[in-house]
Amino acid sequence: MSESVIQVQNLVSGYDDQIVLNDISFEVIPGEILVILGTSGCGKTTLLKHLIGLIQPFSGQIKLLGQDLINSNEKELLNLMRQVGVLFQNGALLNSITVAENIAIPLEQHTNLNDRLIEDLVHLKLSLVGLSHAANSLPSELSGGMRKRAALARAIALDPKILFADEPGAGLDPVTASSLDRLLLNLRELLGMTLVVVTHELGSIKRIADRILFLHQGKAVFYGKLSDALKSDIEPVQRFFNA
């Protein structure tokens, strides 16, 4: 338990009076890839938003890298978030600045590195995601897949210990989606990151998942290894994998 990088216990959450997540508990060990999956509207993105501290739950506990996320003050939360990278569903790059400038934001804001080192690091991260040629382009000039990769370069700018990715393959063709998955696996290997990926794309799940958290109607109906999930006799899980 102590070596887990993410611990979630009895998480209950929702909007107004409506409960979206009910009694969710799981943990993620270092270097593991946890895939949160389930059908549309089951609370996957809401859970991810809790894990990155964007929304507060009704009750329960979330620990990231051993730190209590819910009871942290703003400064503690900011320090914690420096060790976390987030790949948003639509990339969420700032459209008015170039790709290189987007990647430089966390480096400029959270380190005291000089401009030359920042420039080197930006180009290094871009080459890791295969986007060296797009450094001076505006995000609007890139394709969907390229935007995702640029956003990934920004998310890994500070060598995060945990990377959260919200539907990384959404809106991409199968070839680009699969190359993005390979990229995530490579980055996990090279940077030793722990990954939490929200997706409902079967191909992607089979390629990257070590462990699965299956949500159904706001409840965690399955939590375990991918191989066990494939053999599971829990009805929504079975239906999902046999679809």
């Binding site: 459209n95 380190t111 180009h123 290094l124 080459s127 890791l128 609007s140 090279l190």
Partner: protein, 363 residues
């Protein structure tokens, strides 16, 4: 050859780079030329990418000084990080710098292209404006009235308010001067001519350019970035007669009407000062207004406002179609459109003012 050995700490992250630099920097001097500096990684278990890049750069800098910087006792993890985060492997990405002549040339080329593009667009709009006058089926049913309400009727309150204040202030400022010469009644002349031939059309056009011109640009630009214009084109619907021409008709009809309203309200604003501050009765004030206004002033104002309506529409449309990128592109062209519209309206006002001033009064 002498060797200097520095042992690095267990974990080195970007926050320790400055300390590391301080420790190593003294060896980067001529005193140590031809010698070796060994960085001992025996305690180090982890390096982040920033430190790896820093060490690679440091190695290059030492090499320039003829000092060898080598790392020893590197673990597999450290070796992997140093190999992966090597800035030497990156592609050269420096943007090509343009010289002065290239910059001027590119600017001229872009301006010429924009000029040609705008001529094509304006001719296209002109052509379809004439054609669709005879073929109303090309336009969306009721769209001219709809646009007339959006562009004209909804702008009425703000136009009336501003025109009233302009007439009021103009009369107030001139009354103080005219009073000294006992020429109080000429406030009526001044307000009537200034409002009808100059301030009315100009203020109305500036307000409409800011309010409706920006809305037209934003609408077209948003449609373009969300591929709605492309959708119309592939459905065989030309966006110019379908989207733009109704707006043109609506502007051409409503802007002169708004100007007439502005003129009347502006003169009323002046009349309030005439009656309350200069003790002119309401009847002599308006008698003076009607006696000083000739057809020339009225036609000048109407021709101006008609020209302004076309300028606003063409500028708004041009910038709307010129959009590039996403939401930020829409914002950019909308701002540019308003600035350009107001600029062109004022330039056109000056040119028309000169033409009507020096031209023979035909009326």
């Amino acid at each position: 050859m002498e060797q200097i050995q520095i042992t690095l700490p267990e974990q080195i992250s970007h926050s320790l780079i400055k300390d590391l630099q301080k420790e190593i920097a003294p060896y980067k001097s001529k005193k140590f030329e031809g010698q070796s500096v060994w960085l001992d990684f025996s305690n180090t278990k982890q390096l982040d990418s920033a430190v790896a890049v820093f060490l690679h750069r440091l190695k290059e800098d030492f090499k320039k000084q003829n000092i060898e910087l080598c790392w020893i006792n590197t673990s597999e993890e450290v070796e992997k990080s140093l190999k992966l985060f090597s800035p030497l492997a990156r592609a050269k990405l420096e943007a090509k710098r343009k010289n002065f002549f290239e910059t001027i040339g590119e600017l001229g080329y872009n301006l010429f292209n924009q000029f040609v593009e705008s001529i094509f667009l304006f001719s296209n709009i002109g052509f379809w404006a004439i054609v669709s006058f005879f073929k109303p089926g090309m336009r969306r049913k009721g769209e001219i009235a709809n646009q007339g309400v959006l562009i004209g009727v909804n702008a009425l309150p703000i136009v009336v308010l501003i025109a009233f204040l302009i007439g009021f202030i103009l009369a107030l400022q001139s009354a103080a001067q005219l009073r000294q010469f006992g020429a109080n009644i000429y406030v009526a002349d001044l307000i009537a001519i200034a409002m009808v031939s100059e301030m009315g059309p100009l203020i109305t056009a500036i307000l409409v350019a800011g309010r409706s011109g920006s809305a037209i640009t934003a609408e077209i630009a948003t449609m373009k970035v969300s591929e709605e214009i492309d959708a119309l084109t592939v459905m065989g619907v030309d966006p110019i007669p379908y989207l733009i021409v109704p707006k043109l008709y609506a502007l051409v009809i409503t802007l002169p009407l708004l100007t007439v309203f502005a003129n009347i309200i502006g003169i009323l604003g002046g009349a309030i000062i005439g009656v309350t501050y200069l003790d002119i009765s309401i009847y002599p004030f308006f008698k003076e207004v009607f006696s000083v206004l000739r057809y020339k002033e009225i036609i000048t104002g109407l021709v101006k406002s008609l020209s302004f309506s076309i300028i606003i529409l063409l500028t708004a449309t041009y910038f709307g179609f010129k959009v590039k990128g996403g939401a930020e592109g829409v914002g950019r062209v909308t701002t540019a459109s308003v600035v350009a519209s107001i600029f062109f309206v004022i330039v056109a006002d000056s040119i028309l003012g000169l033409i009507f001033y020096f031209g023979e009064p035909a009326f």
